[in-house]
């Protein structure tokens, strides 16, 4: 027996004492989120003070406007609905180590295909028409997402560049659609007519649920919220409990080992892009089916990009994304009360959101490294000895997080 054996034997004894890994991970994620929130609030306070206002008053007016009334919370949930779809779309690709920055373009194209279905399939009975519209939206999103997916798999073109370009193409495509094929046939009344489609028939629209909870119809809270939550659960199941999800995470965290393990990387990536596109397709449904009832020039943009922020905030966890979207909704809704309640400009909210995202990304990274370091420490006795001999060097090539795409997913071997 070697002289070093006593410390070697001591180490495994530590392991049972440690908390279960998922608890540690959950607590770690929660603490990281709270820490980033705290940092963002403190930095925001500095700005508020610079404006000569009282931070407590400003923050309480944000909370008051969003959580202080039933109507306010109705607005928050209504803002959160499309963001859940959007963030889920980002998350699905991210798990496979890819960035779908093209949610923005995918939901624009989906709004066009959905509007086409709403106008052309008008003969279908009510519920069937809604289903047909939603399917058309998902197919539209999928088709637009298939382009960067295929280009990535076949040519290696980076999806970040191609999806951004396709976003810009989608803007023109939507403009063309409402200028030519889908342009209104019945001219809307009024002097300044916006370019838009005809009104969809009432049976194709998505019903308001706000009335059941005493929320004003102005919030446009619709049962799409439940679809969004269901989608989050489906995505969670898909990523955690299916073969595709397992392989996707393998590709995302270590493409090399996935390939040697017999995973067809290209096929996984393409499928993830298609699923992501289908989810992205639903992003625009809140605005055209629950709010407007037509597709017009003045559509809401930036939902795809905000989805990226929400996905980061929810740490790319489908369930976390629901809460992140609500948090984002609280801040966005706070813009309105902020404008009424104080001298601080409403752009302050955007700054607060930007600071939050920046701190979240950095704090999660630190938390992840610490977690990984702890796991490494616990991982093996022999390895631990080597590590202590050269702490600086050892972290490099063997570092558990060397694969870039793993960024938010701590080394994970539970749940399967």
């Amino acid at each position: 027996m070697a002289v070093e054996s006593p410390p070697v034997l001591e180490r495994p004894v530590d392991v049972p004492e440690a908390r279960p890994e998922w608890v540690e991970r959950f607590v770690g994620q929660l603490l990281a989120l709270l820490a980033s929130l705290a940092i963002a609030i403190v930095l925001g306070s500095v700005l508020i003070v610079a404006y000569g206002e009282n931070p407590l008053q400003v923050y309480s007016s944000i909370i008051d406007g969003s959580l202080g009334s039933v109507d306010g919370f109705g607005y928050v949930l209504s803002i959160a609905t499309p963001l859940i779809f959007s963030a889920l779309a980002v998350c699905v690709c991210f798990k496979g180590g890819m960035f779908n920055i093209g949610v923005e373009g995918q939901y624009l194209v989906a709004m066009v295909t959905a509007s086409w279905a709403a106008l052309e399939l008008d003969f279908l009975p009510g519920p069937l028409l809604v289903v047909a519209i939603l399917i058309a939206a998902m197919l539209g999103g999928m088709a637009w997402a298939a382009i960067p997916g295929i280009l990535k798999v076949k040519t290696g073109a980076h999806e970040v560049v191609t999806t951004i370009m396709l976003n810009l193409v989608a803007v023109s495509l939507l403009a063309w659609a409402i200028n030519f094929p889908l342009k209104f046939t019945v001219r809307p009344e009024g002097q300044n007519v916006d370019l838009r489609t005809d009104l969809f028939s009432q049976k194709g629209l998505i019903g308001d649920i706000g009335q059941f909870f005493g929320v004003t119809p102005g919030a446009h809270l619709s049962w799409l919220l439940f679809v969004a939550i269901a989608a989050a659960i489906v995505v969670w199941f898909l990523l955690r409990r299916t073969r595709l999800g397992y392989e996707a995470r393998a590709v995302g965290s270590s493409p090399g080992s996935a390939r040697s393990g017999g995973v067809l990387i290209g096929s996984i990536q393409l499928r993830l892009f298609l699923i992501s596109g289908a989810l992205a397709g639903l992003v625009g449904m809140q605005q055209i089916l629950a709010d407007k009832g037509y597709l017009g020039q003045a559509y809401q943009t930036q939902l795809g990009f905000t989805g990226i922020a929400v996905a980061f905030l929810g740490q790319n966890n489908p369930i976390g994304i629901i809460f992140a979207a609500i948090l984002w909704g609280i801040l966005s809704r706070g813009e309105v009360s902020l404008q009424i309640g104080s001298e601080v400009p409403r752009e302050f909210i955007i700054i607060l959101q930007s600071i939050l995202i920046l701190t979240v990304v950095i704090v999660y990274q630190i938390a992840k490294r610490r977690l990984a370091a702890r796991q490494l420490q616990r991982a093996g006795a022999a390895g631990a000895l080597e590590d202590s001999a050269s702490p600086g060097e050892s972290a490099g090539p063997r570092g558990p997080e060397s694969a870039a795409a793993e960024a938010f997913e701590p080394a994970d071997d539970t749940g399967n």
Partner: protein, 324 residues
Amino acid sequence: MPFTDIAVAIQISLIYFTIIYLTGLGGLFSERSGIVNIGLEGLMVIGTVTGAFGARFFTDTLELGLPWGPVLGLLFGALCGAVFAGVHAVATISFRVDHIVSGVVINLAAIGVARFLSQMFFDGQSTQSDPGGPHLTEIDIPGLSSIGGGVGRAFQNLSPIVFVAALMVIPVWYVLNRTRWGLRLRSCGENPEATRSLGVSVPLYRYQGVMLSGAFAGMSGAFLASEIIGNWREGQTLGLGFISLAALILSNWNPIRLMFFAWLFGFTVAIPLRLDEAPVINLLPPQFINMIPYFVTIVAIAGFVGRVRPPAAAGKAYEGGGGT
């Protein structure tokens, strides 16, 4: 189709060449040092809002007059771009956040920061400033501008910054290839471990590379807002930061080849602006003509990406030299 249209399209392409080339050079410094920077678009956005403000502030408020006001405005845009790029540097170099994640966040945050700054700079207007800001006097290229038959039109009334950008290739090439600093910067992007073993601080060089990328992208944005458009408007960068990135990839991270690709992409941007009446193109609906630059970028990226070689260590987290 009138010949002058082609000449004017070339003139526009030279203007967009300037924007794409300056931003592309920014990406070059960053990626050559090993840090992928897809935040170029966001850095340009910061440059547009601060540059438009700077041009007005130095020219009118400080009454510095024409040559100096706009020049200081451009430099102010560059400075603010560099400062904002510092966030990307801190995240990717000191905290080893994934480069793409950080770049995406930079782009997202830039929109909010720009609105906030605009609100402060331009009396509560959050998405645009008053048009007609000060800019440098346009000049003609001697010789080329006097060619007859309408061709000369292509080389008239150009901002002096167009020449500055084109001449920038000389110092950039020299610094990267003929100085110790350039050699070290490039080696940080190729093999950081070996670079570190020579006693060079990899994080230090990478910080410099990323900050420089912010300065170039910021100046490019300032040029767009104050020299070309005349005011700041939200969304005026129109994906040019990403087009620059595409040009950079096609150029194989080489400042001389980047000139050609920057001009090529600049020309595709000019097509919807001026050549929408040209034969073949005029058969398309106007919305489809607007898509041309983006389609060309996608096709170019898809067709060439396998044939170029990025800096070996670009995009990879570097764990050594932890003393930062």
